[in-house]
């Protein structure tokens, strides 16, 4: 990104830029996610099918990316909507802290789920 966009470190320019980049990637990932979950020979929503599907390292890589980008894009979007309403700086910091914590918590939960799946039985 060029120097002129930097301005204040909290201007939101980085968030704006990465919202677009992650958005484009998620456009592809979400369509792939529909296809994987509903339209392939391994599709289905019962426990055994999901465990079998997620056993593949490619699936794990796919879903680790999807969780990371999806959670970041969603919460960054939420944060940018909140910033539009001119909230006083004290509240802004608290709200940011809450959003950040939710992101870390749900992101880790997603990672643990994908990397620590029970064996099929």
């Amino acid at each position: 990104m060029s120097y002129k966009y930097r301005g204040a470190s909290n201007s939101g320019a980085n968030g704006w830029f990465f919202q677009r980049i992650t958005g484009i990637v998620l456009f592809v990932l979400v369509l792939a996610h529909f296809y994987i979950a509903h339209r392939t020979f391994q599709s289905g929503h019962d426990w055994d099918t999901i465990i079998a599907r997620l056993a593949s390292p490619y699936m794990k890589m796919f879903y680790l990316s999807f969780v990371t980008l999806g959670v970041w894009h969603g919460l960054n979007g939420l944060w940018s909507v909140i910033r539009d309403y001119n909230i006083s700086s004290g509240y802004r910091k608290s709200i940011f802290a809450v959003i950040f914590s939710v992101g870390i918590f749900i992101g880790l939960l997603g990672f643990i789920t994908i990397l620590n799946l029970p064996a099929a039985h």
Partner: protein
């Protein structure tokens, strides 16, 4: 907040509303999928989603996602591909393709 209604204003408002809804959805979705570690609990959870009303909600979820995705693509084009020059055409295209894909998904899901 008051809005001046131009041709793209509903795109702007709906992009925010669908975005907020999807953020809520992805958080709940990841939380529910984390239940995979407990097979019996997960299976009874999944039974709940077989209900016809939940099927309809799934279709509605698709509508929200496809609109947000196509409108997001429009925003990307406005920002990086001089989309402002033809933004009314782009906005109309978002509506047309969203509705077509929504109906097509209805056929795939229910027929």
């Amino acid at each position: 907040m008051r809005y001046v209604k131009h041709y793209g204003t509903w795109g702007y408002i709906l992009h925010r509303l669908t975005g907020l809804a999807l953020t809520g959805y992805i958080l709940i979705h990841i939380y529910l999928i984390s239940g995979l570690h407990n097979k019996p609990a997960f299976q009874s959870e999944m039974q709940f989603f077989e209900h016809p009303v939940l099927k309809l909600l799934e279709w509605a979820l698709f509508a929200v996602i496809i609109f947000h995705a196509l409108n997001g693509l429009r925003i990307f084009m406005v920002d990086y591909f001089s989309g402002a020059r033809y933004h009314k055409v782009l906005m109309s295209a978002v509506w047309v393709f969203s509705i077509i894909l929504f109906l097509a998904m209805g056929i795939v899901m229910f027929i």
